[in-house]
Amino acid sequence: MAMSRLRRREALWFYVFVSPWVIGFLAFLLGPMVSSIYFSMTDWDSFTPPKWVGLDNYTKLLTEDPVFWKALGNTLFYSAVSVPLGLLVGLWLANLLNKQVRARKLFRTLIYLPTLVPLVAASLAFRVVLAPSGPLNDVLGWVGIKGPQWLLDPSWVKYALILLSLWGAGSATVLLLAAMKGIPRELYEAAEIDGAGPVRQFWSITVPQLTPVIFFNLVMGLIGAFQVFSQVYILMPKASQPGTYNASQTMVPYLFDQAFSYYHMGYASAISWLLFAVILVFTLLAFRTTRRWVFYETEVK
Protein backbone atom coordinates (compact mmCIF):
# COMPACT_ATOMS: atom_id res chain seq x y z
CA MET A 1 0.00 0.00 0.00
CA ALA A 2 1.43 3.32 -1.03
CA MET A 3 1.80 5.91 1.66
CA SER A 4 -0.02 9.19 1.43
CA ARG A 5 1.99 12.29 0.66
CA LEU A 6 1.73 13.45 4.24
CA ARG A 7 2.90 10.10 5.62
CA ARG A 8 5.85 10.10 3.21
CA ARG A 9 6.79 13.59 4.30
CA GLU A 10 6.48 12.56 7.94
CA ALA A 11 8.73 9.54 7.36
CA LEU A 12 11.25 11.71 5.54
CA TRP A 13 11.37 14.14 8.46
CA PHE A 14 11.78 11.21 10.84
CA TYR A 15 14.92 10.12 9.02
CA VAL A 16 16.23 13.69 8.96
CA PHE A 17 15.60 14.10 12.70
CA VAL A 18 17.21 10.81 13.71
CA SER A 19 20.16 11.24 11.35
CA PRO A 20 22.48 12.49 14.12
CA TRP A 21 21.92 9.26 15.98
CA VAL A 22 22.29 7.13 12.83
CA ILE A 23 25.56 8.81 11.84
CA GLY A 24 26.88 8.56 15.40
CA PHE A 25 25.84 4.93 15.59
CA LEU A 26 27.66 4.05 12.39
CA ALA A 27 30.77 6.19 12.96
CA PHE A 28 31.32 5.82 16.69
CA LEU A 29 29.73 2.51 17.56
CA LEU A 30 29.02 -0.04 14.82
CA GLY A 31 32.09 0.82 12.76
CA PRO A 32 34.42 0.74 15.76
CA MET A 33 32.82 -2.48 17.02
CA VAL A 34 33.45 -4.27 13.74
CA SER A 35 37.02 -2.98 13.57
CA SER A 36 37.53 -3.98 17.17
CA ILE A 37 36.65 -7.58 16.33
CA TYR A 38 39.20 -7.46 13.53
CA PHE A 39 41.87 -5.73 15.64
CA SER A 40 41.43 -8.35 18.36
CA MET A 41 42.59 -10.95 15.85
CA THR A 42 45.74 -9.09 14.88
CA ASP A 43 49.09 -8.22 16.31
CA TRP A 44 49.19 -4.46 15.89
CA ASP A 45 51.11 -1.52 17.35
CA SER A 46 49.02 1.11 15.45
CA PHE A 47 52.09 2.31 13.50
CA THR A 48 52.99 -0.65 11.26
CA PRO A 49 50.41 -2.68 9.33
CA PRO A 50 48.44 -5.15 11.49
CA LYS A 51 49.45 -8.81 11.36
CA TRP A 52 46.64 -11.38 11.32
CA VAL A 53 46.97 -13.88 14.17
CA GLY A 54 43.48 -15.38 14.37
CA LEU A 55 42.42 -16.24 17.89
CA ASP A 56 45.97 -16.13 19.29
CA ASN A 57 45.30 -13.06 21.45
CA TYR A 58 42.35 -14.76 23.11
CA THR A 59 44.15 -18.07 23.73
CA LYS A 60 47.17 -16.20 25.05
CA LEU A 61 45.01 -14.16 27.42
CA LEU A 62 43.12 -17.17 28.69
CA THR A 63 45.97 -19.65 28.95
CA GLU A 64 49.31 -17.84 29.20
CA ASP A 65 48.67 -14.49 30.84
CA PRO A 66 48.68 -14.64 34.65
CA VAL A 67 48.23 -10.86 34.88
CA PHE A 68 44.94 -11.09 32.99
CA TRP A 69 43.58 -13.70 35.40
CA LYS A 70 44.84 -11.68 38.34
CA ALA A 71 43.12 -8.57 36.96
CA LEU A 72 39.91 -10.51 36.31
CA GLY A 73 39.95 -11.96 39.83
CA ASN A 74 40.58 -8.58 41.43
CA THR A 75 37.82 -6.98 39.38
CA LEU A 76 35.31 -9.70 40.25
CA PHE A 77 36.21 -9.49 43.93
CA TYR A 78 35.91 -5.71 43.93
CA SER A 79 32.53 -5.78 42.17
CA ALA A 80 31.08 -8.68 44.15
CA VAL A 81 31.90 -6.99 47.46
CA SER A 82 31.53 -3.27 46.80
CA VAL A 83 28.19 -3.27 44.96
CA PRO A 84 26.07 -5.42 47.33
CA LEU A 85 27.77 -3.84 50.34
CA GLY A 86 27.04 -0.34 49.01
CA LEU A 87 23.38 -1.24 48.50
CA LEU A 88 23.15 -2.77 51.97
CA VAL A 89 24.65 0.30 53.60
CA GLY A 90 22.35 2.45 51.48
CA LEU A 91 19.33 0.43 52.55
CA TRP A 92 20.32 0.67 56.19
CA LEU A 93 20.88 4.45 56.05
CA ALA A 94 17.72 5.05 54.02
CA ASN A 95 15.71 3.13 56.61
CA LEU A 96 17.12 5.37 59.35
CA LEU A 97 16.41 8.54 57.37
CA ASN A 98 12.89 7.35 56.64
CA LYS A 99 12.08 7.58 60.34
CA GLN A 100 10.91 10.79 61.95
CA VAL A 101 14.33 12.23 62.67
CA ARG A 102 15.09 15.83 63.44
CA ALA A 103 17.56 17.53 61.09
CA ARG A 104 16.88 14.85 58.49
CA LYS A 105 17.81 17.23 55.70
CA LEU A 106 21.20 17.89 57.30
CA PHE A 107 21.96 14.18 57.69
CA ARG A 108 20.81 13.46 54.16
CA THR A 109 23.02 16.23 52.79
CA LEU A 110 26.08 15.02 54.71
CA ILE A 111 25.54 11.46 53.50
CA TYR A 112 24.91 12.54 49.91
CA LEU A 113 27.70 15.12 49.67
CA PRO A 114 30.51 12.62 48.90
CA THR A 115 28.66 11.44 45.77
CA LEU A 116 28.88 14.94 44.32
CA VAL A 117 32.68 14.90 44.52
CA PRO A 118 34.14 14.02 41.09
CA LEU A 119 35.91 10.66 41.10
CA VAL A 120 39.31 12.26 40.47
CA ALA A 121 39.00 14.54 43.50
CA ALA A 122 37.64 11.70 45.64
CA SER A 123 40.52 9.42 44.63
CA LEU A 124 43.11 12.10 45.37
CA ALA A 125 41.53 12.72 48.77
CA PHE A 126 41.61 8.99 49.50
CA ARG A 127 45.27 8.84 48.57
CA VAL A 128 46.01 11.06 51.56
CA VAL A 129 43.33 9.55 53.81
CA LEU A 130 44.76 6.07 53.23
CA ALA A 131 48.42 7.11 53.41
CA PRO A 132 50.49 5.00 55.84
CA SER A 133 50.27 7.79 58.44
CA GLY A 134 46.95 9.19 57.24
CA PRO A 135 43.79 9.72 59.31
CA LEU A 136 42.41 6.20 58.86
CA ASN A 137 45.55 4.52 60.21
CA ASP A 138 45.68 7.13 62.99
CA VAL A 139 42.19 6.14 64.10
CA LEU A 140 43.06 2.45 63.84
CA GLY A 141 46.15 3.21 65.94
CA TRP A 142 43.99 4.66 68.74
CA VAL A 143 42.25 1.32 69.15
CA GLY A 144 45.56 -0.53 68.98
CA ILE A 145 45.41 -1.76 65.39
CA LYS A 146 48.45 -1.26 63.19
CA GLY A 147 46.94 -0.05 59.91
CA PRO A 148 48.08 -1.71 56.69
CA GLN A 149 49.83 -0.08 53.75
CA TRP A 150 46.47 0.37 52.02
CA LEU A 151 47.81 1.51 48.68
CA LEU A 152 51.13 -0.31 48.51
CA ASP A 153 50.28 -3.78 49.77
CA PRO A 154 48.55 -5.64 46.89
CA SER A 155 46.40 -7.66 49.30
CA TRP A 156 44.95 -4.43 50.76
CA VAL A 157 44.50 -2.38 47.60
CA LYS A 158 41.17 -4.07 46.87
CA TYR A 159 39.86 -3.00 50.25
CA ALA A 160 41.03 0.56 49.65
CA LEU A 161 38.96 0.60 46.46
CA ILE A 162 35.96 -0.84 48.30
CA LEU A 163 36.27 1.83 51.01
CA LEU A 164 36.27 4.53 48.34
CA SER A 165 33.15 3.06 46.73
CA LEU A 166 31.41 2.83 50.12
CA TRP A 167 32.12 6.50 50.64
CA GLY A 168 29.65 7.01 47.78
CA ALA A 169 26.88 4.90 49.37
CA GLY A 170 24.89 8.14 49.62
CA SER A 171 23.60 7.81 46.08
CA ALA A 172 22.02 4.43 46.87
CA THR A 173 20.71 5.90 50.12
CA VAL A 174 18.90 8.78 48.44
CA LEU A 175 17.56 6.52 45.72
CA LEU A 176 16.21 3.93 48.16
CA LEU A 177 14.87 6.65 50.46
CA ALA A 178 12.82 8.06 47.58
CA ALA A 179 11.51 4.59 46.81
CA MET A 180 10.65 4.01 50.48
CA LYS A 181 8.46 7.11 50.46
CA GLY A 182 6.36 5.41 47.81
CA ILE A 183 5.48 2.39 49.96
CA PRO A 184 1.81 2.69 51.00
CA ARG A 185 1.42 3.54 54.68
CA GLU A 186 -1.52 1.14 55.00
CA LEU A 187 0.87 -1.80 54.74
CA TYR A 188 2.67 -0.70 57.89
CA GLU A 189 -0.59 0.13 59.68
CA ALA A 190 -1.93 -3.33 58.97
CA ALA A 191 1.33 -4.93 60.08
CA GLU A 192 1.29 -2.97 63.33
CA ILE A 193 -2.23 -4.11 64.08
CA ASP A 194 -1.08 -7.66 63.45
CA GLY A 195 1.62 -7.09 66.05
CA ALA A 196 4.71 -7.06 63.82
CA GLY A 197 7.68 -5.13 65.25
CA PRO A 198 9.84 -2.61 63.32
CA VAL A 199 12.45 -5.22 62.39
CA ARG A 200 9.86 -7.67 61.11
CA GLN A 201 8.17 -4.84 59.17
CA PHE A 202 11.50 -3.86 57.61
CA TRP A 203 12.15 -7.35 56.29
CA SER A 204 8.55 -8.23 55.40
CA ILE A 205 7.35 -4.95 53.91
CA THR A 206 10.14 -2.48 53.18
CA VAL A 207 12.64 -4.86 51.60
CA PRO A 208 10.19 -6.79 49.37
CA GLN A 209 8.66 -3.52 48.18
CA LEU A 210 12.09 -2.21 47.25
CA THR A 211 13.45 -5.27 45.43
CA PRO A 212 12.83 -3.89 41.91
CA VAL A 213 14.87 -0.77 42.70
CA ILE A 214 17.54 -2.80 44.48
CA PHE A 215 17.76 -5.20 41.57
CA PHE A 216 18.07 -2.47 38.94
CA ASN A 217 20.83 -0.81 40.92
CA LEU A 218 22.57 -4.08 41.56
CA VAL A 219 22.85 -4.81 37.85
CA MET A 220 23.81 -1.25 36.93
CA GLY A 221 26.27 -1.11 39.82
CA LEU A 222 27.93 -4.37 38.78
CA ILE A 223 28.30 -3.16 35.19
CA GLY A 224 29.90 0.03 36.46
CA ALA A 225 32.15 -1.75 38.94
CA PHE A 226 33.55 -4.12 36.31
CA GLN A 227 34.71 -1.02 34.43
CA VAL A 228 36.46 0.62 37.40
CA PHE A 229 39.33 2.74 36.10
CA SER A 230 40.03 6.24 37.45
CA GLN A 231 40.16 5.15 41.09
CA VAL A 232 42.69 2.41 40.34
CA TYR A 233 44.77 4.63 38.09
CA ILE A 234 44.93 7.46 40.63
CA LEU A 235 45.13 5.51 43.89
CA MET A 236 47.95 3.31 42.64
CA PRO A 237 50.21 5.27 40.32
CA LYS A 238 52.29 2.78 38.42
CA ALA A 239 55.55 4.59 39.14
CA SER A 240 55.15 4.24 42.90
CA GLN A 241 54.97 0.45 42.91
CA PRO A 242 56.71 -1.27 40.03
CA GLY A 243 56.87 -4.56 41.92
CA THR A 244 53.30 -4.90 43.08
CA TYR A 245 51.55 -3.12 40.25
CA ASN A 246 50.45 -6.27 38.42
CA ALA A 247 49.24 -7.97 41.59
CA SER A 248 46.66 -5.25 42.22
CA GLN A 249 45.67 -4.83 38.57
CA THR A 250 42.05 -4.67 37.38
CA MET A 251 40.51 -5.17 33.92
CA VAL A 252 40.11 -1.72 32.40
CA PRO A 253 43.42 -0.30 33.69
CA TYR A 254 45.12 -3.42 32.30
CA LEU A 255 43.38 -2.87 28.95
CA PHE A 256 44.35 0.81 29.02
CA ASP A 257 47.95 -0.06 29.81
CA GLN A 258 48.21 -2.61 27.00
CA ALA A 259 46.68 -0.17 24.50
CA PHE A 260 48.20 3.18 25.41
CA SER A 261 51.43 2.35 27.25
CA TYR A 262 52.61 -0.66 25.21
CA TYR A 263 50.61 -0.07 22.00
CA HIS A 264 49.40 -3.68 21.97
CA MET A 265 46.22 -2.61 20.18
CA GLY A 266 45.21 -6.11 19.10
CA TYR A 267 45.78 -7.63 22.52
CA ALA A 268 43.93 -4.77 24.24
CA SER A 269 40.97 -5.17 21.85
CA ALA A 270 40.77 -8.85 22.80
CA ILE A 271 40.70 -7.84 26.49
CA SER A 272 37.80 -5.48 25.78
CA TRP A 273 35.75 -8.32 24.26
CA LEU A 274 36.46 -10.60 27.19
CA LEU A 275 35.37 -7.77 29.51
CA PHE A 276 32.17 -7.44 27.50
CA ALA A 277 31.60 -11.21 27.82
CA VAL A 278 32.01 -11.02 31.60
CA ILE A 279 29.59 -8.10 31.86
CA LEU A 280 27.07 -9.87 29.65
CA VAL A 281 27.23 -13.11 31.64
CA PHE A 282 26.67 -11.34 34.93
CA THR A 283 23.84 -9.20 33.59
CA LEU A 284 22.05 -12.24 32.18
CA LEU A 285 22.65 -14.10 35.43
CA ALA A 286 21.13 -11.23 37.39
CA PHE A 287 18.09 -11.23 35.13
CA ARG A 288 17.70 -15.00 35.28
CA THR A 289 17.56 -14.99 39.05
CA THR A 290 15.12 -12.06 39.35
CA ARG A 291 11.99 -14.18 39.46
CA ARG A 292 13.21 -15.74 42.64
CA TRP A 293 13.61 -12.55 44.62
CA VAL A 294 12.24 -9.48 42.88
CA PHE A 295 8.75 -8.54 43.93
CA TYR A 296 6.48 -6.69 41.55
CA GLU A 297 3.18 -5.23 42.67
CA THR A 298 1.40 -6.64 39.62
CA GLU A 299 2.09 -10.21 40.74
CA VAL A 300 -0.40 -9.80 43.57
CA LYS A 301 -3.96 -10.19 42.48
Partner: protein, 310 residues
Protein backbone atom coordinates in the same frame (compact mmCIF):
# COMPACT_ATOMS: atom_id res chain seq x y z
CA UNK B 1 28.99 4.20 43.05
CA UNK B 2 25.40 3.34 42.46
CA UNK B 3 23.55 4.54 39.41
CA UNK B 4 20.40 6.60 39.28
CA UNK B 5 17.39 4.83 37.91
CA UNK B 6 15.55 7.54 36.10
CA UNK B 7 11.91 7.27 35.31
CA UNK B 8 10.49 10.07 33.34
CA UNK B 9 7.17 11.63 34.11
CA UNK B 10 6.41 15.29 33.66
CA UNK B 11 4.75 16.34 36.86
CA UNK B 12 2.82 19.37 37.96
CA UNK B 13 4.15 21.32 40.87
CA UNK B 14 7.42 20.92 42.70
CA UNK B 15 8.27 17.79 44.60
CA UNK B 16 11.10 19.42 46.50
CA UNK B 17 10.53 19.76 50.20
CA UNK B 18 7.78 17.19 50.23
CA UNK B 19 9.99 14.65 51.92
CA UNK B 20 10.54 16.93 54.88
CA UNK B 21 7.11 16.12 56.19
CA UNK B 22 6.71 13.12 58.45
CA UNK B 23 5.34 10.05 56.69
CA UNK B 24 1.60 10.33 56.68
CA UNK B 25 1.49 14.04 57.47
CA UNK B 26 0.22 14.90 60.94
CA UNK B 27 -1.14 11.44 61.67
CA UNK B 28 0.12 9.35 64.56
CA UNK B 29 3.70 8.14 64.07
CA UNK B 30 3.80 4.42 63.42
CA UNK B 31 6.25 2.40 65.50
CA UNK B 32 8.39 1.62 62.51
CA UNK B 33 8.94 5.33 61.82
CA UNK B 34 9.87 6.25 65.40
CA UNK B 35 13.43 7.48 65.79
CA UNK B 36 15.33 6.06 68.77
CA UNK B 37 18.56 7.35 70.36
CA UNK B 38 20.23 4.53 68.46
CA UNK B 39 18.94 6.05 65.19
CA UNK B 40 20.52 9.39 66.03
CA UNK B 41 23.78 7.86 67.27
CA UNK B 42 24.15 5.91 64.02
CA UNK B 43 23.35 8.89 61.80
CA UNK B 44 25.76 11.15 63.67
CA UNK B 45 28.62 8.64 63.53
CA UNK B 46 28.06 7.84 59.85
CA UNK B 47 27.83 11.52 58.86
CA UNK B 48 31.01 12.27 60.80
CA UNK B 49 32.95 9.40 59.24
CA UNK B 50 31.79 10.33 55.73
CA UNK B 51 32.85 13.94 56.30
CA UNK B 52 36.42 13.06 57.27
CA UNK B 53 37.85 12.91 53.71
CA UNK B 54 36.19 16.26 52.86
CA UNK B 55 37.39 17.99 56.02
CA UNK B 56 40.85 16.49 55.63
CA UNK B 57 41.03 17.69 52.01
CA UNK B 58 40.14 21.23 53.13
CA UNK B 59 42.69 21.03 55.94
CA UNK B 60 45.42 20.03 53.47
CA UNK B 61 44.37 22.74 51.03
CA UNK B 62 44.96 25.29 53.81
CA UNK B 63 48.37 23.88 54.83
CA UNK B 64 51.69 25.64 54.32
CA UNK B 65 54.36 24.20 52.04
CA UNK B 66 56.37 23.34 55.13
CA UNK B 67 53.56 21.18 56.51
CA UNK B 68 53.38 19.43 53.12
CA UNK B 69 57.10 18.68 53.02
CA UNK B 70 57.06 17.28 56.57
CA UNK B 71 53.77 15.44 55.98
CA UNK B 72 52.43 16.92 59.24
CA UNK B 73 48.77 17.13 58.26
CA UNK B 74 45.93 17.22 60.78
CA UNK B 75 42.33 16.24 60.09
CA UNK B 76 40.96 19.57 61.31
CA UNK B 77 42.68 22.62 59.82
CA UNK B 78 45.23 24.13 62.21
CA UNK B 79 46.66 26.70 59.81
CA UNK B 80 44.93 28.82 57.23
CA UNK B 81 47.13 29.44 54.22
CA UNK B 82 44.44 31.08 52.06
CA UNK B 83 47.18 32.18 49.68
CA UNK B 84 47.13 28.64 48.24
CA UNK B 85 43.85 29.51 46.53
CA UNK B 86 45.44 32.41 44.64
CA UNK B 87 48.79 30.68 44.21
CA UNK B 88 47.30 28.03 41.92
CA UNK B 89 46.37 30.69 39.39
CA UNK B 90 49.84 32.18 39.10
CA UNK B 91 53.38 30.99 38.69
CA UNK B 92 53.96 27.83 36.71
CA UNK B 93 50.71 26.16 37.78
CA UNK B 94 48.20 26.45 34.92
CA UNK B 95 45.13 25.88 37.10
CA UNK B 96 43.27 28.74 35.41
CA UNK B 97 44.00 27.18 32.05
CA UNK B 98 42.75 23.80 33.34
CA UNK B 99 39.48 25.42 34.43
CA UNK B 100 38.96 27.11 31.06
CA UNK B 101 39.67 23.81 29.28
CA UNK B 102 37.15 22.01 31.49
CA UNK B 103 34.53 24.64 30.68
CA UNK B 104 35.12 24.41 26.93
CA UNK B 105 34.87 20.62 26.92
CA UNK B 106 31.91 20.39 29.28
CA UNK B 107 29.82 23.17 27.70
CA UNK B 108 30.56 21.96 24.16
CA UNK B 109 29.36 18.49 25.16
CA UNK B 110 26.25 19.86 26.87
CA UNK B 111 25.21 21.86 23.81
CA UNK B 112 25.81 18.86 21.57
CA UNK B 113 23.70 16.49 23.67
CA UNK B 114 20.85 18.95 24.21
CA UNK B 115 20.54 19.78 20.51
CA UNK B 116 20.88 16.27 19.14
CA UNK B 117 19.08 14.21 21.79
CA UNK B 118 16.08 16.54 21.69
CA UNK B 119 15.62 16.11 17.93
CA UNK B 120 16.18 12.36 17.91
CA UNK B 121 14.06 11.68 20.98
CA UNK B 122 11.17 13.75 19.62
CA UNK B 123 11.27 11.88 16.31
CA UNK B 124 11.16 8.50 18.04
CA UNK B 125 8.23 9.60 20.20
CA UNK B 126 6.01 11.31 17.62
CA UNK B 127 6.88 10.75 13.97
CA UNK B 128 5.85 7.61 12.10
CA UNK B 129 8.16 5.94 9.62
CA UNK B 130 8.91 2.43 8.39
CA UNK B 131 11.65 0.76 10.42
CA UNK B 132 11.21 3.04 13.41
CA UNK B 133 10.56 0.31 15.97
CA UNK B 134 13.54 -1.75 14.87
CA UNK B 135 15.71 1.34 15.06
CA UNK B 136 14.53 2.06 18.57
CA UNK B 137 15.39 -1.47 19.62
CA UNK B 138 18.89 -0.85 18.30
CA UNK B 139 19.06 2.36 20.35
CA UNK B 140 18.20 0.40 23.49
CA UNK B 141 20.62 -2.41 22.63
CA UNK B 142 23.52 0.01 22.24
CA UNK B 143 23.20 0.93 25.92
CA UNK B 144 24.61 -2.50 26.71
CA UNK B 145 27.88 -2.02 24.82
CA UNK B 146 30.67 -1.02 27.21
CA UNK B 147 32.69 1.96 26.01
CA UNK B 148 35.91 -0.05 26.24
CA UNK B 149 34.91 -1.98 23.10
CA UNK B 150 34.90 1.15 20.95
CA UNK B 151 37.69 2.96 22.79
CA UNK B 152 40.61 1.70 20.70
CA UNK B 153 39.04 1.96 17.20
CA UNK B 154 37.74 5.44 18.11
CA UNK B 155 41.25 6.43 19.13
CA UNK B 156 42.57 5.19 15.77
CA UNK B 157 39.80 7.08 13.97
CA UNK B 158 40.53 10.36 15.75
CA UNK B 159 44.27 9.84 15.32
CA UNK B 160 43.78 9.44 11.55
CA UNK B 161 41.66 12.61 11.54
CA UNK B 162 44.53 14.43 13.27
CA UNK B 163 42.31 15.19 16.27
CA UNK B 164 44.63 13.81 18.96
CA UNK B 165 45.69 16.52 21.40
CA UNK B 166 42.63 18.64 20.56
CA UNK B 167 39.28 18.93 22.36
CA UNK B 168 37.43 17.56 19.35
CA UNK B 169 37.38 13.82 20.27
CA UNK B 170 35.84 14.78 23.62
CA UNK B 171 33.21 17.18 22.25
CA UNK B 172 32.19 16.14 18.73
CA UNK B 173 30.68 12.69 19.51
CA UNK B 174 28.18 14.48 21.76
CA UNK B 175 26.61 16.12 18.72
CA UNK B 176 25.37 12.70 17.64
CA UNK B 177 23.20 12.11 20.75
CA UNK B 178 23.42 9.08 22.97
CA UNK B 179 21.04 6.23 23.58
CA UNK B 180 20.29 7.04 27.19
CA UNK B 181 19.41 10.67 26.49
CA UNK B 182 17.34 9.75 23.45
CA UNK B 183 15.43 7.33 25.65
CA UNK B 184 14.82 10.04 28.26
CA UNK B 185 13.46 12.52 25.70
CA UNK B 186 11.32 9.91 24.00
CA UNK B 187 9.71 8.90 27.31
CA UNK B 188 9.16 12.54 28.21
CA UNK B 189 7.57 13.47 24.87
CA UNK B 190 5.31 10.43 24.73
CA UNK B 191 3.65 11.57 27.97
CA UNK B 192 2.94 15.06 26.65
CA UNK B 193 -0.56 15.59 25.22
CA UNK B 194 -0.52 15.25 21.43
CA UNK B 195 -3.39 17.71 20.79
CA UNK B 196 -0.95 20.63 20.57
CA UNK B 197 1.19 19.30 17.78
CA UNK B 198 -1.87 17.92 15.98
CA UNK B 199 -3.48 21.36 16.09
CA UNK B 200 -0.27 22.91 14.84
CA UNK B 201 -0.22 20.43 11.98
CA UNK B 202 -3.79 21.41 11.01
CA UNK B 203 -2.64 25.04 11.08
CA UNK B 204 -0.06 24.08 8.49
CA UNK B 205 3.09 24.17 10.57
CA UNK B 206 5.78 21.81 9.19
CA UNK B 207 7.39 19.08 11.23
CA UNK B 208 10.47 21.14 12.01
CA UNK B 209 8.27 24.10 12.91
CA UNK B 210 6.27 21.91 15.28
CA UNK B 211 9.47 20.78 16.95
CA UNK B 212 10.90 24.27 17.26
CA UNK B 213 7.78 26.23 18.16
CA UNK B 214 5.62 23.72 20.04
CA UNK B 215 7.86 20.96 21.36
CA UNK B 216 11.07 22.72 22.29
CA UNK B 217 9.45 25.07 24.83
CA UNK B 218 7.93 22.07 26.58
CA UNK B 219 11.11 20.01 26.48
CA UNK B 220 13.17 22.25 28.76
CA UNK B 221 12.86 20.11 31.92
CA UNK B 222 14.19 17.00 30.21
CA UNK B 223 16.82 18.95 28.25
CA UNK B 224 18.10 20.58 31.42
CA UNK B 225 18.27 17.19 33.12
CA UNK B 226 20.29 15.92 30.15
CA UNK B 227 22.46 19.01 30.38
CA UNK B 228 23.16 18.30 34.06
CA UNK B 229 24.06 14.65 33.37
CA UNK B 230 26.31 15.61 30.45
CA UNK B 231 27.98 18.40 32.37
CA UNK B 232 28.62 16.21 35.41
CA UNK B 233 30.01 13.38 33.30
CA UNK B 234 32.29 15.48 31.12
CA UNK B 235 33.46 17.77 33.92
CA UNK B 236 34.66 14.77 35.89
CA UNK B 237 35.75 12.56 32.99
CA UNK B 238 39.31 11.38 33.42
CA UNK B 239 39.89 8.59 30.95
CA UNK B 240 38.89 10.51 27.81
CA UNK B 241 41.28 13.42 28.40
CA UNK B 242 43.96 10.95 29.53
CA UNK B 243 43.76 9.19 26.17
CA UNK B 244 43.53 12.23 23.92
CA UNK B 245 45.30 15.16 25.58
CA UNK B 246 49.07 15.26 26.10
CA UNK B 247 49.78 18.98 26.36
CA UNK B 248 49.50 20.36 29.85
CA UNK B 249 47.98 23.54 28.38
CA UNK B 250 45.06 21.56 26.94
CA UNK B 251 44.20 19.44 29.96
CA UNK B 252 40.89 19.89 31.78
CA UNK B 253 40.98 20.24 35.55
CA UNK B 254 40.08 16.59 36.26
CA UNK B 255 43.20 15.44 34.41
CA UNK B 256 45.37 18.41 35.30
CA UNK B 257 44.96 18.06 39.03
CA UNK B 258 46.04 14.41 38.83
CA UNK B 259 48.85 15.39 36.47
CA UNK B 260 50.30 17.75 39.11
CA UNK B 261 50.79 14.79 41.46
CA UNK B 262 52.92 13.00 38.85
CA UNK B 263 55.22 15.90 38.05
CA UNK B 264 56.66 16.33 41.55
CA UNK B 265 60.43 16.35 41.76
CA UNK B 266 61.74 12.85 42.49
CA UNK B 267 62.02 12.11 46.19
CA UNK B 268 59.68 14.93 47.14
CA UNK B 269 55.98 14.61 47.95
CA UNK B 270 53.58 16.19 45.45
CA UNK B 271 52.37 19.69 46.41
CA UNK B 272 49.40 18.17 48.22
CA UNK B 273 48.08 21.54 49.39
CA UNK B 274 47.78 22.81 45.82
CA UNK B 275 46.45 19.45 44.61
CA UNK B 276 43.67 19.69 47.19
CA UNK B 277 42.92 23.27 46.18
CA UNK B 278 42.52 21.91 42.64
CA UNK B 279 40.28 19.09 43.90
CA UNK B 280 38.10 21.61 45.70
CA UNK B 281 37.87 23.76 42.56
CA UNK B 282 36.86 20.59 40.71
CA UNK B 283 34.19 19.74 43.28
CA UNK B 284 32.51 23.09 44.05
CA UNK B 285 30.88 23.56 40.61
CA UNK B 286 29.36 20.08 40.88
CA UNK B 287 27.80 20.92 44.23
CA UNK B 288 26.48 24.18 42.76
CA UNK B 289 25.07 22.45 39.69
CA UNK B 290 23.38 19.85 41.87
CA UNK B 291 21.70 22.41 44.09
CA UNK B 292 20.64 24.65 41.21
CA UNK B 293 19.46 21.72 39.12
CA UNK B 294 17.82 19.71 41.87
CA UNK B 295 14.44 21.21 41.05
CA UNK B 296 14.60 19.92 37.48
CA UNK B 297 15.76 16.48 38.55
CA UNK B 298 12.87 16.29 40.99
CA UNK B 299 10.48 17.48 38.34
CA UNK B 300 11.70 14.67 36.13
CA UNK B 301 11.07 12.30 39.05
CA UNK B 302 14.58 11.11 38.43
CA UNK B 303 14.99 10.14 42.04
CA UNK B 304 14.22 6.57 41.29
CA UNK B 305 10.77 5.09 41.22
CA UNK B 306 10.62 1.53 40.03
CA UNK B 307 8.89 2.20 36.70
CA UNK B 308 12.20 2.18 34.86
CA UNK B 309 12.77 -1.39 35.96
CA UNK B 310 9.53 -3.05 34.94
Amino acid sequence: MATLAPTVAPQRGGQAGKDEEPPGGTARVLGVFKATPFTYATLIIVSAVLSVPLVFAVSIALSTDHTVSTNAFTILPHEFEWRNFTKVFGGDLPMGRFLVNSLIIALGSVIGQMVSSGLVGYAFARLRAPGKNVMFLVVIATMMIPTQITMIPQFILFKDLGWVNTYLPLIVPNFFSNAFNVFLVRQFVSRLPSELDEAAMVDGLGFFGIYRRIMLPMLWPVLIAIGIFTLTYNWGDFMGPLIYLNDESKMPLALGVQYITTTAVAGQPPPWNLVMVGSILLTLPMIAVYYLGQRYLYEMDISGGSAGVK
